[in-house]
Structures are given as structure tokens and as C-alpha cells.
Symmetry: C2
Subunit: 409 residues, 2 copies
């Protein structure tokens, strides 16, 4: 068995109820035995939904389905199983989706187009849809407004801890709550179709505005996080807004009244993204990379991800080695504007390379002490512009090889 991540919190956070949302988990025995593997949420009529889906060109049938539902943008139910990704399963893929959708629609009493589904687990194995449909009526009957821990656990695959986060804010003086959870232990976990996240709020927001705010929050949270650079066939993030808070309906995404909401949603999604990186396969260190002075925010993010995805940077951190040459290398391969002679690299707050060369006689002691810790900070200033981004990842250790090379044996 895989060791629990050293970053696992002592307990799952207490998440607040969201008016209009009831949720829970159940054991359907899709693949795992003796643990919940089916998550369901029931949403009150009038709930709008936004989301972000994998850009993979080999995406799964459930993702195809969600793309259709998101166009309409209203939802009454979400049904998710773990243990089987229902990806690359040919025509049986959409058949599996149909069984899940039918079961949820019947239980909730809504149309099929109001049901979102996701599947995570092994690729290429036919989904045993009957086990899921059989479990749905009882699962639905037991949904509660505080079923967060069961729900978060039910979507886990190789995760070593469930991941939840919440925040509150106000829209035009009306209090609003956001809560959600995520699974993922790498952009791809072994054999697993991986990152899923479900976020709920009682805010009243038109779907186009919710979609815009969600997209931006994704770019600054989940899209700033990487474990191994591999892209899932099933990545799915859904944000459901029940409208029960009763705030005044905003007119546009940039509405001043939405400032608090934008920040709170960003906070929840960032929190969840960081938890995913901290549960990265084999992770022994959590790495935050701040890139400043790039040509644009996009350029900064790409440079940050290039550093975060470099196996040589990740192994150096695992080895507690301030190998800044590898960071310079990763900046160079990112393909974004950079000037060798304007780069500044700091580790743990100590500048160790600047103006195109290593800092002679920098004090190695604080850097070495920092690298012995669990939380590693890398700052890179590109020195040519004002674009900045923060990116999160974990180190690359023997644990990753153990998990991924020895998965079936």
C-alpha cells in the first residue's frame, strides 16, 4: 500500500451546508470493495452550472456528455463513480453514461439533460452500469446537506486523503457560501483518469457569468498545478450555484458586487488545487514557484509550469539540492521570452543566481536549511516585463516510480 502523504491534514475540514444542495456517498462495488465509490448530489430546481473539462483529444464519454449539459447550463443532479473511468470503452462508453444519467434522473425526477456525470479510475474497462443504477435509489434517499466527507471520499482513487475547502463572502451585502471537494493525485494517477472537482454555492448567478468567473479561477488554480505533466482523459470541474442565497442577480462577470465572490471562489479552488499537488504521487515536498517579470501572465504561467514539470528540477528538490542550473534550463526551454542575463533565481528567499550567473559566495546555510523542510519556495524573476504567476507542484521521488511502475504487480 502507498504511504499517506506527509501533507495529509489531521481531519477532513468541516464544510458548511449549501442551501439547495444535498449530497452523499455510497458503496456500489464498481471496482473497490468496502469503501464508498459513488457520489451523488441533488440540486434544487433553478440551479445553474458552469465547469471546465479536459482538453484531451481522447477524452472520455462522461466528459463528452458534460460538455453537452454545460451548454444548457442548468442541473438537478451530479452522479460520479470511482474505480472505472469509462474512458476509451468504445460505444459502450456512451451506454455507460446513459445508465448513470437514467438512474439519477429517475431518482431525482428531472430530465436527462439536467444530470451531470463523471467517472474516474481504470481506462479501457467497460463500466458495470447496473451496479451503479442499483445503488442510486438508496443513495438518493440518504442525501443530506452535510454529506461532504462521504462525498469527498467516494470519488477518491489513488488519493491518500480527501480534499475539501470552503469560503464565505457577500454579494451586494447578502451572505453567500461556497464549498467543494476534489480528487487527484497527479494530473494522471496510475491507470486512473484523474482530477475531478465539484464546487457548490448558494449564490444567484446567471450561467454565462458563472462560467466566466469559473474559467478565470481555473486558470489561476487547477491550471497552475501539476504533478507529472500528464493530462487526464477525464478532468472535470463543475461549479453549481443554487441561487438560494437570494442576492441580487449580477449583470456581468466584472460586476463590482461580485468581487468578494470571485475572490472566495478563487480561494476555494486554489485551496483544492494545492491539496491535489500535496497528494501528488510519491510527494515528499510541496513546491511553490513564483514567476515574476515575464512578458505576460500567460508567459509566467507557462514558465512556471515548465519548471514544475521538469523531472530534473523535481528530482533535485527531492535530493535537497539547490541546483539552480536546472531551473535556468527549464526557463530556457519554456519557449517564452526570456533573457539569460536578466534572470534572477531565489530558493527559500535567498537569491542564488542573477544577471546571468550564480551569486558568488551566497550564504548556502539558509538555502540548505530551507531545502530540508517540506515546503519549498522558488522565485524566478524573468526581468523583462510585468507578467506574474504562481504555480504549485511536488517533487519526483522513488515513491512515484514505485506507484507507477509497480501498479499492477
Amino acid at each position: 500500500m502507498t504511504a499517506v502523504s506527509p501533507f495529509a491534514p489531521k481531519r477532513f475540514p468541516t464544510l458548511p451546508p449549501i442551501d439547495g444542495v444535498r449530497l452523499g456517498g455510497a458503496s456500489a462495488g464498481v471496482k473497490y470493495q468496502g469503501r464508498p465509490d459513488l457520489f451523488m448530489a441533488e440540486l434544487d430546481p433553478g440551479t445553474v452550472v458552469a465547469g471546465a473539462l479536459t482538453r484531451s483529444l481522447t477524452r472520455s464519454a462522461p466528459v463528452d456528455w458534460c460538455a453537452q449539459v454545460l451548454k444548457k447550463g442548468t442541473a438537478r443532479a451530479i452522479l460520479v463513480n470511482a474505480g472505472n473511468a469509462n474512458a476509451f470503452t468504445g460505444k459502450a462508453g456512451m451506454e455507460g453514461v446513459r445508465v448513470m444519467v437514467d438512474a439519477a434522473a429517475e431518482a431525482v425526477g428531472c430530465t436527462r439533460k439536467e444530470v451531470l456525470v463523471a467517472s474516474t479510475g481504470v481506462i479501457g474497462v467497460k463500466l458495470p452500469g447496473d451496479r451503479i443504477s442499483k445503488a442510486v435509489p438508496k443513495l438518493r434517499a440518504g442525501l443530506t446537506s452535510d454529506g461532504w466527507p462521504q462525498a469527498a471520499r467516494a470519488i477518491m482513487t489513488t488519493d491518500t486523503f480527501p480534499k475539501g475547502a470552503s469560503a464565505t463572502c457577500a454579494i451586494g451585502g447578502v451572505p453567500v457560501t461556497i464549498a467543494g471537494f476534489a480528487k487527484g493525485s497527479g494530473m494522471i494517477a496510475p491507470d486512473m483518469a484523474t482530477m475531478l472537482s465539484f464546487v457548490f454555492t448558494d449564490a444567484s448567478i446567471p450561467k454565462d457569468i458563472l462560467q466566466k468567473i469559473t474559467r478565470k479561477a481555473v486558470d489561476r488554480s487547477f491550471n497552475c498545478m501539476t504533478v507529472d505533466g500528464d493530462t487526464s482523459t477525464s478532468d472535470t470541474l463543475l461549479v453549481a450555484a443554487t441561487g438560494k442565497a437570494g442576492n441580487k442577480l449580477p449583470k456581468k462577470a466584472s460586476d463590482k458586487a461580485l468581487k468578494g465572490f470571485r475572490e472566495a471562489l478563487q480561494q476555494v479552488m486554489t485551496d483544492l488545487a494545492i491539496q491535489v499537488a500535496k497528494d501528488g504521487e510519491g510527494a515528499s515536498k510541496f513546491i511553490t514557484i513564483d514567476v515574476t517579470g515575464a512578458a505576460s501572465e500567460k508567459a509566467a504561467r507557462r514558465i512556471g509550469l515548465c519548471i514544475a514539470n521538469s523531472p530534473l528540477v523535481k528530482t533535485a528538490i527531492a535530493g535537497e539540492d539547490a541546483n539552480w542550473g536546472r531551473i535556468v534550463m527549464a526557463v530556457g526551454k519554456a519557449g517564452e521570452r526570456a533573457d539569460r542575463d536578466r534572470l534572477t533565481v531565489a530558493v527559500g528567499g535567498t537569491v542564488i543566481a542573477e544577471k546571468g550567473e550564480g551569486v558568488p559566495d551566497y550564504d548556502e546555510a539558509p538555502v540548505a536549511a530551507h531545502l530540508k523542510g517540506r515546503d519549498i519556495q522558488i522565485d524566478v524573476d524573468i526581468g523583462i516585463g510585468r507578467g506574474k504567476a504562481r504555480v504549485w507542484t511536488c517533487d519526483l521521488t522513488h515513491g512515484y516510480i514505485d506507484i507507477n511502475a509497480d501498479y499492477r504487480t
Copy 2:
């Protein structure tokens, strides 16, 4: 110490002399002690030179210098040291280049603009140029037409074996010889600025034509090979043609008389690229990936490299696991045109997934037997076009982590 690659040949190949080329290696003590670390080649007057350099935006000072010399395209000497990459060394970088260029120019009696240099090794440490310049006169005096083994060894860093290859052909009925060598143990070796390759021929070819043929051969050899996807600050390939064979000067790169030469140069460079992949850090398996049916050759290459760079595919192969779901995932993330339902994936010649799903009840025995071997073949047909490419890589093992995480300790 790192174990020698299981793919290391019993001995360095016997390479033929190239008329107009004298070469050899010497110990300058730049970093390594008790082994050759300085390679020099002297080229007869009239030698033209082509090449390919790293696209890294943080490339080293020696690469900057080579880019200048290649514009003119004639050369009389090549001088290369191992153990120090002279990369990210600020103003001292070009100073180090100057010392090397001066030493070679003086020894050979040529202009500075006729000297090419390369450095490979640690990034960010000032090059001890005096040790190099001191060693050059004696090194130059001892150059011979059969100094290949010394030369190939002198440029090694973390390589576990020297890599050489040769081929013969004819241009318009006149026999022509090509021989060369390379170093590299990953696109980046630990702390090392990595892939270098030097190829020599007696063919008589104008520099623009040589450059065109070289570029194409690079795209189908070194650019089809990856160990860890990281890009060196120092990658340098040089092809020097002395013109001593006396063949009729070709008029263009597509000249029919050059067919044999193009193929022979491709063969030598492909051979060297494969040897680099086989000496990849921690490699226990050599992987050939044939992509067919893509939208274009470029698309096929990109898909192939995406599979080759996927840590999840590489660890699956290390674990002798026919995990085709990960191959499908890598195709999906390549960003090139692909259709989930037209993909075909074969391992060791056995089709295990096609038409959007796994082949039910495929015979696992030959696949398992194939994966237990050292040479792994993966075939992916995209099913939408005629573009094809072959890509080489190695698996990702505990050895890679050992070498890269524990490098300084």
C-alpha cells in the same frame, strides 16, 4: 557510481579515417581527473561546416559563438571540453570561449572565426580556461586520423559508454565516408549541459546544401529522441565536410547524386541518437515508438514524443505493464489531430486497443513476453492521415531518481 547501461556495446566501433580530419583527446583536468576531458579536431583548409544548436533561450556562451561561426560556414578547428558547460556564467562565459578559441587558432594557425567550441558539464561555474589553453599545443601535436576513441571519450560526462557510428556512400560515383560520435545521457544529464555530436565527412558539399541536409537529418534523428524531455542549454551538433573526396560539387540539396549521402548521413545520426537514448539515465529498456496515420510527419513526431516523454508510459514500461490506457492518454494530450475512435495501439506487434476500445480477449502472453525483453516496440496508428514518424526513448526507473536526486550527495 552509476551502473553501465545494459545496452553498452562490447567495444567502441572502428571508425574509418576521414581525409582532411585529424583528431584526439587529452586530459586538461577541467573537472574530471585521470581521464581525457578535452577533444580537438583539426580540419584541412576548405572545410565547410553545418550544424544544429539548442533552441533554449538560456543557451550557453559557446553556443552563441558557434551560431556566429556557422553563419560563415567554414572551419579549421573544433575544441570541446567536458566537466564544465560554461553556461550561465555571465560575462565570464564569453571570456572562457575566447580563451578556448585563441588557443585553438594559435595551435592550428587559423583565424578565430574558423574555430568552433563546445563545453559540457556543470552549469554556472566559471570555466578554468587556462587549464584548457595550456593543454592545447600538446593535444594538437598528437592529433591523428584514427583518434576517434580518445575523442569520443573526452566529451563524455554522465555517459556510461562512448558513442560512435560511420557509413560510406558515393556521390556521382565517387566514394565518400562519414564518421562521427556523440555524448549525452538524457536531453539533460544531471547538472550537465548535455548532448553534443560531431560528424565528419570527406564529401565536397557547399555549406548551404550541407546545412539543409543536416537540418533534415537532425529532425529525423536527434529530434526524434528523448530521455526526460528537458532541453539542454548546450546542445550542439556539427557536421564538417573537408571536400577531400573530390566528388563533383552538388548544385542543390535535392540533387539526385546526393541521395546516397543523405541516407548515409541520416544513418550515422540516427545510429548516434539511438545510442544516446540507450544510455539514458537509469535506462533498463529501449523503446521504439512508430506513429502512423497522423495528419503530417510533424504531427506524428509530436505525438510520438508526447508518448515518449510521458512519465506514466515510461514507468509502465519499466514495470513491464501493457498499460495502453496511458498511451491513449499521451496521444490525447499531444494537441495534434486525433480521433479517439480511430486509434490503434500495438505493443510488440500485438494489437491491444483499436476503434476506441481495448481488444477484448487479446492474447496477453506474447505481449507480456515482449515487455520482459530489453527492446520494446510500440505502434500507434492515428487513423486519420498519412503522416508518420519514429521516436526513440528509454524507460523511467529508480535509476533516474538515484542519479538525479542524489547527484551532489
